[in-house]
Symmetry: C2
Subunit: 302 residues, 2 copies
């Protein structure tokens, strides 16, 4: 089953302790789409500028990704520039140029309106809600957000949250959104805002999933080096939603596996700058790492 | 099979956001012994002062704990006073009075010399090594330490580490001891110092066990409130070593279960001040929480 993503396509300039790159292809929708395409067909809704031509679009080619929803607008593509230092748990934004993204009005090609699995990447909550409302048949809608919207447009965000099934959010943002420090209580507070499933990303400490009274934990993959954390969250979402779309059914067992596939994909993503590791993965590598997660967490009750 | 612990018995005065207590019974050996006694017989080697009489010794009574190794010395018992604020991840020590603990020379009753399972709680590394050398038959010796010894007596600590099987340490201390920030590399560096097994405690993020090329993760139990973190590390060690002593065999499967039992016991410990939750646990409660850990981490490979 295909998965629809609405979000940004961008040029990123990054500096980490391992190096520096200029204007490489990035953006939440890009990381999500490339990742999810290992599991299911992906439809992308985004906007790019004149400077994002056939050469750049190649990133989506040969990957079961439909790009008819990527609009070309006059002007320059969204640009972001950031730096990671220390434990690299947070980027310091050096520059943001919204460019064509500033007036982004997501337009869904007719076939996308029947989407079952949808991911609303981190954009203005009013746009997330506008997209959501065009997808009455969606069975699982995931949403990501950030502090900028939590603080800046809290009412809009709450309205959007009232209409989604899954919030995928990092731990600090979850605590801020809920106004509660304790993670379990924060997840419960967020579930009262709408999402029946809350997925909390905890960086090197992995991720956890809250649904009803149940909690499921996946550890972070113990990498010896993280070269570039950019896009790890969207990659995680791509693995999570992509796996669920491929499985078709949103069961407890599938949600658990989805959380692990999200962690698997994020762990690959950060091994190299930008999309490079994600672009040359094999399904065998993905399954091998999934099995490593199993062996790192499995124990028998006597 | 019994487990031997050598460490402190103390009076603690504590303040946390949930309250304040004065001169309650604490100490690493106490938390360890009470915890491990749910799994196996425990022999305690420690020193107390004149002020630790039959009334105080009741904490060990009726629990499969042998206290013939607790020496009574003239003077006052070790006292520690500390405060937890914010996320309570670290205690701020307000006062330490070593008292009789200052000249502690562990004396092992003859029957203890045949111990198979031993835990050297956080004391001077030269004393840890002196105890270790009296236990030639020990099959599994665990050791805890702290920044004070890592910085203060690094050579003594290295000598002690050369003669133990398991180091149980918190994540910050592991990084300092190894001189490496990355946890996987830190564990590998520590294993080169002697311990074939490294257990890293990560507070609310759980614990992990490194052995050979294998890593096993247990999450932290998602409590809604932590009332008092004092003794959580020693409680963890008590569950870990106590379970292994009860199982008898140090297999991979048992080590995994031991890490979970350590996490289970630590999660109970912090629910209330001091030893109070640990003193009134039932084996059924322990098993129920162990099973919760299973359900919080279990997933099937398709």
């Amino acid at each position: 089953m295909p998965v629809l993503v609405v979000g940004s396509v961008a040029f990123d300039s990054l500096k980490t302790p391992f190096g520096e790159v200029k204007e490489i292809i990035g953006g939440a929708a890009t990381y999500f789409a490339v990742t999810a395409s290992y599991f299911a067909p992906v439809n992308v809704v985004a906007v790019v500028g004149d400077d994002f031509g056939p050469e750049q679009l190649k990133v989506f080619e040969g990957r079961n990704i439909d790009t008819t929803g990527i609009e070309r607008a006059p002007g320059r593509t969204f640009r972001w520039s950031g730096e990671y230092t220390g434990d690299m748990s947070e980027a310091k934004t050096l520059d943001t140029q919204l460019n064509v993204f500033e007036s982004f009005q997501p337009k869904l090609p007719a076939p996308y309106l029947e989407s079952d699995f949808v991911f609303l990447a981190n954009i203005q909550p009013t746009l997330q809600l506008a997209v959501r409302e065009q997808l009455p048949h969606a069975r699982l809608v995931g949403l990501d957000t950030m502090n900028f919207w939590i603080h800046g447009t809290p009412d809009d965000l709450r309205r959007a949250l009232g209409h989604v099934d899954v919030l995928i959010i990092n731990d600090k943002e979850a605590r801020v959104l809920a106004g509660v420090d304790n993670l379990r209580r924060a997840a419960a507070a967020i579930r009262r805002l709408g999402p029946r499933i809350v997925v909390v990303k905890r960086g090197e400490y992995g991720a956890c999933l809250f649904q009803g009274d149940a909690i499921f934990f996946a550890p972070g993959y113990p990498l010896e080096e993280v070269h570039d954390p950019t896009g790890a969250g969207d990659t995680f979402a791509g693995g999570f939603m992509g796996y669920l779309a491929s499985a078709g059914e949103v069961s407890d067992a599938n949600l658990r596996r989805a959380l692990v596939y999200g962690s698997v994909m994020a762990s690959f993503s950060v091994e190299e700058f930008g999309l490079s590791r994600l672009l040359r993965l094999s399904r065998a590598e993905i399954e091998a790492r999934f099995n490593e997660f199993k062996s790192m967490t499995h124990f028998e009750v006597c």
